[in-house]
């Protein structure tokens, strides 16, 4: 492990999105896309992609430059094993209309549909999760919300449409938080990005209903290389949610998103995501926020699926009195490696941050916490507290922690606490003695462990998460 350099030397990382985490969720759709790019990543693919999206010249140039940077950089030499990730086998662009229309609900394996049913997900939503491209049932709801938002000047679009319809705001902010130089996977994403959300909330506007990426499904918000750009003007306040606890089907094995968030002075932005990709997926995401004076940024990051996840939401506290918060859940089962954490940079006085990470490892799963807290010189009276708790469900399950702390300011207060616990036989016996079957008892202990984070979730997500944990525990009893 000595080759692990502090995370700040590397960019946050990239991610792969794997949708779900138990084998029973894994499924494949028949390959019947009518158009795909050729396999592998090269200039021709990028030019074609940009042309098909009818993009402005500057974006094509940006993509090509990013490609050159990726070529030069090469992959990170730290963190989880990515040796099985072969770009020459990957399609870097699939047109959305091809991605959707041709898949059929009938192609979705019975056991996956069964899982959805048991999770109690409405059929329309099930189809959406399975990539079948059904209309989301609440579209009507969305339309009335959207009218409301538009009156306030809120922009909530898929990223391509955002670029077309709001070129100025877009260009002003795009790639300012995560430039392609940042890290290898960010460079790859910059070269081939497609989909994602574009959110702009004007100064002083507060939105009480969360902006859900679900609403944008027609724009493939959960694309392979999604690029999300979120801008909170001074004094704005809103919550953006994407992802889903239910296993999300994706036939692509490599997902690398970039999420950029700009939280201007006194704004308050929350970003919540729960991802549950299928077991074949490398999930390498760069997500980062810059936070202005007395502004506040909160991340809730749940990683349930994938083969390998590398994801460290990072928060740059740039304005005096800025606040950052990260709540992270990771669940690694057989053959999975969840490498997740957080990065907080205190670059101004009186900035505060808190990180709470809860990881669970089951079977041969491995979860790692990788975190950095950095206090810059001059960031007087900065306060930061990190707590990471790991729960091991089996003898062979693994967990490790890489907390990096760099303090260059005498007045800083930094706390770090880490615990590792095992599933406790006495607790299981106790709960069973009250009538709970063993798997339910284990699920309850796991839920209890996650509770401090889960209770921050919107209710429907918390409910789904609980159901998912129960499913996960079913049949785990020998």
């Amino acid at each position: 492990m000595s080759d692990l350099r502090p995370i700040n030397d590397h960019p946050d990382a990239a991610k792969l999105e794997g949708l779900d985490h138990t084998r029973q969720y894994d499924f494949q759709l028949a390959e019947n896309y009518s158009y795909k790019s050729e396999r592998g990543l090269n200039k021709r693919v990028i030019e074609k992609l940009s042309y098909m999206k009818n993009e402005p010249e500057w974006m094509l140039k940006f993509r090509l430059r990013a490609f050159e940077i990726a070529e030069k950089k090469g992959r990170p030499k730290w963190g989880p094993d990515l040796s099985h990730l072969n770009f020459d086998e990957i399609f870097f662009y699939i047109r959305p209309q091809d991605r959707k229309g041709t898949n059929s609900w009938d192609d979705v394996p019975e056991e996956v549909r069964e899982t959805y049913k048991r999770l109690g997900i409405p059929e329309a939503e099930q189809k959406m999760l399975a990539g079948v491209g059904a209309q989301y049932e609440s579209e009507m709801v969305y339309h009335s919300l959207k009218e409301e938002w538009e009156k306030q000047g809120v922009i909530f679009l898929d990223t391509e449409t955002g670029l077309q319809e709001h070129p100025e705001i877009f260009k002003e902010h795009f790639a300012t938080v995560v430039p392609p130089e940042d890290n290898y996977f960010a460079a790859v994403n910059s070269a081939v990005w497609s989909g994602g959300s574009f959110v702009y909330v004007p100064a002083g506007v507060e939105i009480s209903v969360p902006l859900q990426a679900y609403f944008l499904i027609n724009a493939q918000s959960m694309g392979q290389f999604e690029r999300t750009l979120i801008i909170g003007e001074p004094g704005s306040k809103f919550h953006y949610i994407e992802g889903c606890t239910a296993p999300t089907y994706n036939s692509d094995s490599f997902h690398s998103g970039v999420i950029e968030i700009i939280v201007k002075d006194r704004a308050n932005v929350r970003y919540s995501t729960i991802q549950n990709w299928s077991h074949n997926v490398y999930n390498l995401v760069t997500q980062r926020a810059i936070v202005g004076e007395r502004a506040s940024m909160g991340w809730l990051d749940g990683n349930l699926g994938s083969k390998v996840t590398m994801k460290y939401p990072s928060t740059y506290l740039l304005g005096e009195g800025a606040h950052g918060e990260v709540l992270s859940i990771a669940f690694a089962t057989d053959g999975q490696h969840q490498d997740a954490g957080a990065k907080v940079i205190h670059a101004a006085p009186n900035t505060t941050s808190s990180v709470v990470s809860k990881s669970i490892s089951k079977g041969t799963g491995r979860s790692s916490y990788r975190g950095l807290v950095q206090i810059h010189e001059g960031a007087t009276n900065a306060r930061s507290n990190v707590e990471c708790d790991a729960l091991l469900l089996d003898e062979h399950a693994m967990t490790d922690t890489y907390p990096y702390i760099e303090i260059n300011e005498k007045t800083a207060h930094v706390g770090h606490e880490a615990t590792v616990s095992k599933l406790n036989d006495e607790q299981i016996f106790y709960l069973m003695s009250r009538g709970l079957p063993e798997d339910a008892a284990m699920a309850l202990i796991v839920r209890g462990f996650l509770d401090p984070v889960a209770k921050e979730l919107p209710l429907e997500y918390a409910v789904e998460l609980n159901r998912l944990i129960e499913l996960e525990m079913e049949g785990s009893v020998g």
Binding site: Y430, S433, R434, G435, E438, L444, G448
Partner: protein
């Protein structure tokens, strides 16, 4: 009718792969009765209680445990609970992040058929009645299971659960120890509230004091892994006054027999 009872037959048991603790326990608690089980430290009372509940860290070597005439030896702890058995633990564990209300609702529903789950209103009404019977503050139900509870609060929680789950047989393992006098009365009232023709209890205690409030139909004395004496409630008073030596002597047992595992 005569079958309605909790019965231990010639039970021999050991710590899984380790030392033998129970060496032939015989005990019958008929439904409708409350029996007390007393005995020196280390005599095997808690071991017996946990074995009845199905604790996998002990192994039965011989004998049987029966509920209403049916052997429960092959049943898992949860199946025994659903068969009507309840153990109030001497040392209840903490389960972080799991609220009492949430947990009890799950435990109640585990006893019911799927589709016949207890209604939310019905459940809270029941829970509130139990909280009230124990003279407790309602906010307790939102607290996590025993997290940060005082010793006495844990004991109270065990009795609260008993009132909500309404078992047919309860074993109370030193539910009185660590309680102040007022709490003792409250806990005793809770148990008395559960008394009735369809409820049987085995109350493990070191103190006659509790038995003033929960008057037992019979008292059993355990020593060195066996029940060596049984008698009416007055037996408890004798023990209080004279200690255990006279009974041990009567049965030719040395005091070291009870503390053997500590030796």
């Amino acid at each position: 009718m005569s079958d309605n009872r909790l019965e231990i037959r010639n039970l021999h048991a050991r710590i899984a792969g380790g030392e033998t603790i129970l060496k032939g326990v015989d005990l019958i608690v008929p439904s409708g009765e409350v029996h007390a089980l007393m005995g020196p430290n280390g005599s095997g009372k808690s071991t017996l209680a946990k074995l009845m509940a199905g604790d996998p860290s002990y192994e039965v070597l011989d004998g049987d445990i029966l509920i209403d005439g049916e052997s429960v030896l092959e049943l898992e702890p949860d199946e025994r609970a659903r068969a009507g058995l309840y153990l109030a633990f001497q040392y209840p564990v903490e389960v972080p992040g799991v609220s009492i209300a949430n947990f009890l609702r799950l435990a109640l529903n585990a006893r019911r058929e799927e589709g016949d789950e207890v209604g939310v209103m019905e459940f809270y009404a029941k829970l509130q009645r139990a909280v009230k019977a124990l003279d407790w503050d309602e906010s307790i139900i939102e607290r996590n299971l025993h997290e940060g509870f005082s010793g006495g609060e844990k004991k109270r929680s065990e009795v609260l659960q008993l009132l909500v789950l309404e078992p047919r047989y309860a074993i109370l393992d030193e539910s009185d120890s660590g309680l102040d006098v007022d709490a003792l009365k409250v806990v005793a009232n809770g148990v008395n509230a559960a008394r009735g023709p369809n409820f049987g209890a085995l109350v493990i205690t070191h103190y006659q004091r509790l038995l003033n409030y929960i008057v037992p139909d019979m008292v059993h004395v355990m020593s060195s892994g066996r029940v060596i004496e049984s008698g009416p409630k007055e037996l408890a008073m004798d023990l209080d006054a004279k200690g255990y030596d006279w009974i041990r002597e009567k049965h030719g047992i040395t005091a070291s027999g009870d503390a053997v595992a500590h030796a």
